[in-house]
Symmetry: C2
Subunit: 142 residues, 2 copies
């Protein structure tokens, strides 16, 4: 079996990519519920069995690698607004952070083999996908 | 500036570790709201500026690297219950998945320098911390 890793760092292997009309960070919405378009999650054939139970209508959390972010930024003005005080990135949703993992809540619109269309995804075109998780319902429905 | 990475994989550098009374996966709760204890997030000095605005009472999402998980498992019986049909891991919260990133919703109980105490964390003692994000409020409060 694969080792998870150890020592100084852990290596992520993307499981797919985002296919989106969004190509420019400056014009992308800051969160998915602020006017983000529909996009496709295009998965690698190796993870076909992991996505086999995704269905239209379900709510998912998509984890991505924000490959255009900076890793050495520890404080930012929230939402790029210079009138707001500089804030530690662990208290903001800035993409710039030591491990730039994006977390996106989306709804499945369509499933077509290895491609899954989702609403409300603000990730840029080409963004690597790391993981997909269901949104948890009440404890007695798990 | 640091490169985010590229090519075949991306390298995560943990920003701290979980200090918890939970040491055994078999006896740990499956989710934080199913009886998980309080635990400490112990951060590395290098990220002090990133956590400087964390305050008692706030709700956070903690991302961890589930370093005792398996990466080559693509389908599981949910919650280890063999009577439930095998399900693709992207439709479950199983720790076993291609990129075993844990996602934990917690509330801050105390802040003491580089140590932050949180309620309801089901991660095992020693689990590497990757990132911390605020839970988003309504769009007009961001």
């Amino acid at each position: 079996m694969d080792e998870v890793g150890g020592g100084d760092g852990y290596v992520l292997h993307p499981v797919g990519r985002v296919l989106s009309p969004l190509t420019d960070a400056a014009s992308a919405p800051r969160q998915g519920d602020e006017g983000a378009p529909a996009a496709w999650l295009v998965f690698d054939p190796q993870v076909e069995q992991a996505l086999r139970d995704l269905r239209v209508g379900v709510e998912l959390l998509v984890l991505t690698w924000l490959d255009r972010a900076l890793r050495d930024v520890l404080a930012v003005h929230p939402r790029g607004d210079e009138s707001r005080p500089e804030t530690g990135v662990f208290s903001t949703r800035s993409p710039h952070r030591p491990n730039p993992i994006g977390l996106h809540r989306v709804r499945v619109l369509a499933v077509d083999g290895l491609r899954v269309e989702v609403a409300d995804l603000e990730a840029l075109d080409g963004t690597p996908i790391l993981d997909v998780k269901p949104v948890l319902g009440a404890a007695d429905e798990r």
